[in-house]
């Protein structure tokens, strides 16, 4: 259903807020923090969820990774494949959380939370950013657990402070971007079942046509082209360079730049589309 009359008050109301500059920015910040904090509190009430979710990347690492451990095409000759794989499964686990985060939006629309939020003075961008921050909170907890396991298992990761912090920061950028993409999908699809189908559908190419599991060099030309336009490729490359020290030197800023650009794009699009999700 769409309302008669093209101009949406939801969009027009945003303009005076933007014009106020610093005040609006403070409200966006405060709103985002409030939503992220609520997400953290929900996590605290449900420990089991985060642990069961954290098992999946570990299984990739220790089953898939162990099986292919001695394949030299994948290990680039010298590296433990599990170390090569670690940034990939870290990104994949976060991607999984982010891509299905739109489900929460559909749920909140169905139960009335979304209508409620949209009738508050909270800026629309803060609602979207807050949701994205919520996905980041979950991804961060999962990544920290994975790092702990890497340390205990003695997998050859470069443990520098800058590398680990950079890894987590890039992971947050990527997770926020894919969460915004998911909200965009949720605003368009509006039905849980259909959303699940589409989510599954795009997970596959995003994950397998990226550098998460294997270097781009093993791919045929056409697939390499697909991987080159896949933002996950850049996220994983950046993570891998910072965490494991693999990849061309100096490329990390390109990777971060692509992921950040993708985030801005998705954030703008989701902020525009989100209020329409209630109609």
């Amino acid at each position: 259903m769409s309302a008669h009359g093209a101009a949406s008050p939801i969009v027009s109301a945003e303009q005076p807020a933007l014009a106020h500059g610093a005040g609006a920015l403070a409200r966006v910040g405060a709103g985002t923090v409030a939503m992220a904090q609520a997400e953290l509190r929900k996590l605290r009430h449900d420990h089991l969820d985060i642990f069961t979710r954290s098992l999946q990347p570990l299984m990739w690492l220790f089953i898939f990774g162990t099986a292919l451990r001695h394949n030299s095409a994948l290990t680039l000759g010298h590296l433990d494949y599990r170390a090569y794989l670690a940034p990939g499964v870290m990104a994949q686990a976060a991607l999984f959380i982010a891509i299905f985060y739109g489900l929460a939006v559909i749920w909140e629309r169905d139960v009335g939370q979304l209508q409620r939020l949209l009738a508050t003075p909270l800026p629309r961008s803060a609602i979207v950013l807050g949701k994205a921050a919520g996905a980041c909170v979950r991804a961060l907890v999962q990544a920290l657990l994975l790092l702990a396991v890497l340390a205990v298992a003695g997998i050859a990761v470069r443990w520098t402070l800058g590398g680990v912090l950079g890894t987590l920061a890039l992971l947050m950028l990527g997770t926020a971007a894919f969460a915004c993409m998911s909200m965009l999908m949720a605003a368009a699809v509006k039905e849980r079942e259909r959303f699940m189908g589409i989510g599954q559908l795009i997970m596959m190419p995003l994950f397998f046509a990226s550098s998460a599991l294997y270097p781009l060099a093993v791919m045929p030309g056409w697939l390499r082209v697909v991987a080159r336009v896949n933002p996950l490729t850049y996220e994983v490359q950046g993570l891998r360079q910072m965490l494991v020290g693999v990849g061309g030197a100096g490329e990390v800023w390109l990777d971060v730049g692509v992921v950040a650009g993708f985030l801005v794009l998705m954030l703008l699009a989701a902020t525009r589309a989100y209020p329409k999700a209630i109609l």
Binding site: M1, S2, A3, H4, G5, A7, S8, P9, I10, S12, A13, P16, A17, R27, A30, G31, V33, A34, M35, Q37, A38, R41, K42, H45, D46, D110, V111, G112, Q113, Q115, R116, L117, L118, A119, T120, P121, L122, I278, L279
Partner: protein, 269 residues
């Protein structure tokens, strides 16, 4: 009708969904501090009207003011001046009652230094002390509604919008919710605009009400006025007198509405 200081003013409002005229030229005014009911069967246009007044939906034509602000041009000012509780459950079931209050204090723009005090006042107003530490999803339907109302009071709204506030509640819980709302109105002077399809509820709790049917506002006034004017003993009879239909019949036949209502009722336990 004196409109200068009205808490809510709706002037010839129309909203169209593709080929359906959901609201067809509706006008009414609500005075500050009044409890005003929008009464009618499902599909009458009540929820659509509330969505326009809460800035969720653009009016197709006509205009609407809430607390003196235009819902289109001053949407942000309207949002700051209202509390809104949709028909479905709007608090987060995975958070405790207190966490929900804290969340809504933050997102409705309550200044940080007043937050604790406002939350305490809302807890007292809706009698929530006993349930503060419980996850919202474990609360009974009546408790949930009171928690929701409490979360909508934190920004000290001039107008409180309640869409079918007692749907799915048993009579005792329903009475308790209304007791708290009446008290709130007496103490804070909050204007309350609510929708209902329960005639008896409208008759008992509204100071004034408007009857809507098929997008039109067919009658409005104080409950007693309506009864006298239409020579009726109950609002059901008033509805029949002004629409030529029985409210029970008018209620039927909207599968989607029935399903949505059952879902809410089920969730409320």
């Amino acid at each position: 009708m004196g409109t200068g200081a009205a808490a809510v003013l709706v002037d010839d409002l129309a909203v169209r969904f593709e080929d359906v005229l959901a609201v067809a030229g509706v006008s009414f005014a609500v005075a500050p501090g009044e409890v005003f009911g929008l009464l009618g069967p499902n599909g009458a246009g009540k929820t659509t009207t509330i969505r326009v007044l809460t800035t969720l939906l653009p009016p197709g034509s006509g205009r609407a003011l809430v607390a003196g602000h235009d819902v289109v041009r001053e949407a942000l000012a309207v949002r700051a001046a209202i509390g809104y509780i949709p028909q479905a459950i709007s608090v987060d079931g995975a958070l405790t009652a207190r966490e929900n209050l804290d969340f809504y204090a933050r997102v409705t723009g309550v200044p940080a230094r007043e937050r604790a005090q406002r939350i305490e006042q809302a807890i007292a107003a809706m009698d929530l002390e006993a349930m503060l530490g419980r996850l919202a999803r474990t609360l009974s339907g009546g408790m949930l509604r009171r928690l929701e109302i409490a979360t909508a009071l934190l920004n000290r709204p001039a107008v409180l919008f309640l869409d079918e506030p007692t749907v799915g509640l048993d009579p005792t819980a329903r009475r308790l919710v209304w007791e708290h709302l009446s008290l709130l109105r007496a103490q804070a002077g909050t204007t309350i605009l609510f929708t209902t399809h329960v005639m008896e509820e409208a008759e008992r709790y509204c100071e004034r009400l408007a009857i809507m049917d098929l997008g039109h506002l067919v009658e409005q006034g104080q409950p007693r006025e309506l009864l006298e004017r239409n020579g009726a003993d109950s609002l059901e009879e008033v509805f029949t007198a002004v629409t030529g239909r029985n409210i029970e019949q008018a209620q039927e036949g909207r599968l989607a509405d029935v399903r949505a209502r059952r879902r809410v009722a089920h969730r409320l336990g």
